[in-house]
């Protein structure tokens, strides 16, 4: 099986190299691993460093947002016939050691999407971020009927078939939530896999809070209104 690890990155020059280097070169059940960095119009050396670390780098001519970068990643995964696509954040908070358990349900055919969840054991997660995530989870359940413990996790694995069904419009952080809504709409099987989160001073500055959760909610509502 061919695995693409898609990493959307915007001005992550200080950490992108180490994120790529920590990804294992072999995984059980995987024949080929391609590291793909979608440089979302960075103004620093993100693209050059990622390329030097061995990733295939595709650069947006301008900053479109993490949602657009993920759509670009999914498009490339389809073009390059990836059997499994994993999305990871570029800030180093996702532990590559979880890749094996994350892709296992996709390899076995048990699920279309394996969503990493940080909230089965939220130890270390800043309170404000925990509150933001739980707020969004509750809103998602009430409004769209999606049951999840971590609606905003960007650490997920997707089967080739699931990518055929996901039509994403979101351009910002709301993308991960929109994916769950689209998965439910398309009756895709989603399983949650507990993942470890590496909280560093750097990654703590990058996350989402209550305001982001509410912004995400309003953006999703806006999408429904504007069609």
């Amino acid at each position: 099986m061919k695995l693409i690890v898609a990493i959307p990155a915007y001005n992550e020059a200080s950490i992108i190299g180490s994120v790529i280097e920590r990804i294992p070169s072999t995984l059980p059940g995987i024949r080929e691993i391609l590291m793909l960095v979608i440089d979302d119009g960075s103004t620093d050396a993100t693209a050059q460093i990622a390329e030097a670390a061995g990733a295939l780098v595709l650069s947006h001519p301008l900053n479109g947002g993490v949602g657009v970068a993920k759509v670009t990643g999914f498009t490339v995964a389809r073009q390059l016939n990836a059997d499994i696509t994993v999305t990871m954040d570029a800030d180093g908070q996702h532990d590559p050691a979880n890749l094996t358990t994350l892709i296992a349900p996709i390899i076995s055919g048990e699920a279309d999407i394996a969503a990493g969840t940080r909230l089965k054991d939220p130890t270390g997660m800043p309170t404000i971020r925990l509150l933001g995530n739980r707020t969004m989870n509750a809103l998602l359940r009430i409004v769209w009927g999606v049951k999840t413990t971590d609606s905003q996790s960007g650490y997920r694995a997707y089967s080739r078939e699931s990518l055929e069904h996901l039509e994403i419009e979101a351009s910002g952080f709301e993308v991960d939530t929109e994916i769950l809504i689209a998965a439910r709409r398309n009756n895709l099987a989603v399983v949650e896999i507990p993942v470890r989160t590496i909280y560093t001073n750097y990654s703590k500055t990058k996350g989402q809070s209550v305001s982001t959760a509410l912004m995400t909610f309003f953006r999703l509502i806006k999408q429904v209104i504007t069609g």
């Binding site: 391609l34 979608i38 295939l56 595709l58 650069s59 947006h60 001519p61 301008l62 479109g64 947002g65 949602g67 657009v68 759509v71 670009t72 498009t75 490339v76 073009q79 390059l80 419009e169 351009s171 806006k222 504007t226």
Partner: protein, 112 residues
Amino acid sequence: MFIAQAIAVFFGVLVTIKSYDEFRHRREPLIMFLFWTGLWIGVVFIALFPHIALKLSTKIFGADAGFGTLFGIVTVFGLFLAYRLYIKAERAERRINKLLTLVTTKDVQNKQ
């Protein structure tokens, strides 16, 4: 009253100058420049000469109507305009996003 008039004149002049500048640099078509200028001349006129505007509105909408009706129509029109602009901006952004992905993923097979 004077404060309302001053604010209306201030914004009227500001928008007209801005619109003219956009038109001069060919970033705005003539029709839009004329539309915004005309609209703000109307707003400033109502603010400066309310008695004339009241006479006009009574003539157009009848004796029972007055500034209230005029204000209601203008508010509804303003909200409609804002909504249309919002929808158009949203759609434009989505098209740009699609274009970003399209441009970036072009010839990806050769880049691998």
